[in-house]
Amino acid sequence: MHLRVYRYNPETDAKPRMQDYTVALEARGKMVLDALLAIKAQDDSLAFRRSCREGVCGSDGLNINGINALACVTPLTGLRQPIEIRPLPRLPVIRDLVVDLSQFYRHYRAVKPYLINLDPEPERERLQSPAERAELDGLYECILCACCTTACPSFWWNPKRFLGPAALLQACRFITDSRDQATEERLDFLEDPYRLFRCHAIMNCVEVCPKGLNPTAAIGKIKALLVKRAL
């Protein structure tokens, strides 16, 4: 099996290069992560992130044959060879396939991804009806792998100012939550030509999300709430 892997060490290399690898691996039933681990066994200088190896931790978001995906849940069968593996686009490379996600997390932090509720804490818990809880389906499952945000052209053009699909999905998640009391404050923050309105519904985010979520719909919901509030 042939793979071409992006190699770059900013401290020693003048520029990035693609390195070819051949690994003896039966593709059936194996994932891209298995191939990367096989490469690591023969060349331990290759750096990449991985942890849970089952699509839950979101560590191994990579650009595989041009499409952002989690290496651990992307089957090797069906991939054109040589399989080109690059780091997530538009983020600074720390080494090889490891990118600096600081910007991504700054946007995540900016949307205050936690419940804001100034009522005194109840004895046991803040209750929701099953219907209110169901509103969060499709929003809370995000694992912050950054596949969507780094696939978004609007993020590529304005990475510092556009929050990106992942952060906006989380913004929508807390706006939607019946227990949250800061909806107005959250909408105020988002009503901005850059933070929210750089989204042109390109929908790359929907295409690549390994959890099958729909950030574009969440962004549409935020826009609808802004319109409702304004009119």
Binding site: D188, D192, K223
Partner: protein
């Protein structure tokens, strides 16, 4: 609780773009129907279509909507691609003037048929 507010802009233009799209979506089939009723259309009949004041006004509103729609779309593209502020503002203005000129020109054509 307004301390972390955004620029509180963006929504207005986004809404205007949708509103102008609605105007175009209403006008185009209505005009197509209106023209179909008056078929066959030779040059005189085509000119005649724009004689009633209501048609002149509707057409002018349609053109204004199309130009506004185009300008807002162009603004989005410029925000995405032109990051030099001075150049971007100059381009906003240049296209704004161009489109305003187009609107005046359209008005002159519409009222020049009488």
């Amino acid at each position: 609780m307004r301390t972390v507010a955004g620029a509180r802009r963006g929504l207005d233009l986004w809404l205007w773009q949708r509103a102008s799209a609605v105007v175009m979506a209403l006008y185009l089939p209505a005009f197509a129907l209106y023209a179909a009723i008056h078929a066959p259309l030779d040059y005189t009949a085509w000119r005649g279509l724009f004689d009633p004041l209501i048609v002149k006004l509707a057409t002018l509103i349609f053109i204004a909507a199309a130009l506004l729609h185009a300008w807002i779309g162009l603004r989005e593209i410029l925000i995405d691609y032109v990051h030099v502020l001075g150049l971007r503002l100059a381009l906003y203005l240049a296209f704004g003037l161009l489109y305003a000129g187009c609107l005046l020109w359209a008005a002159a054509i519409l009222w020049g048929t009488a």
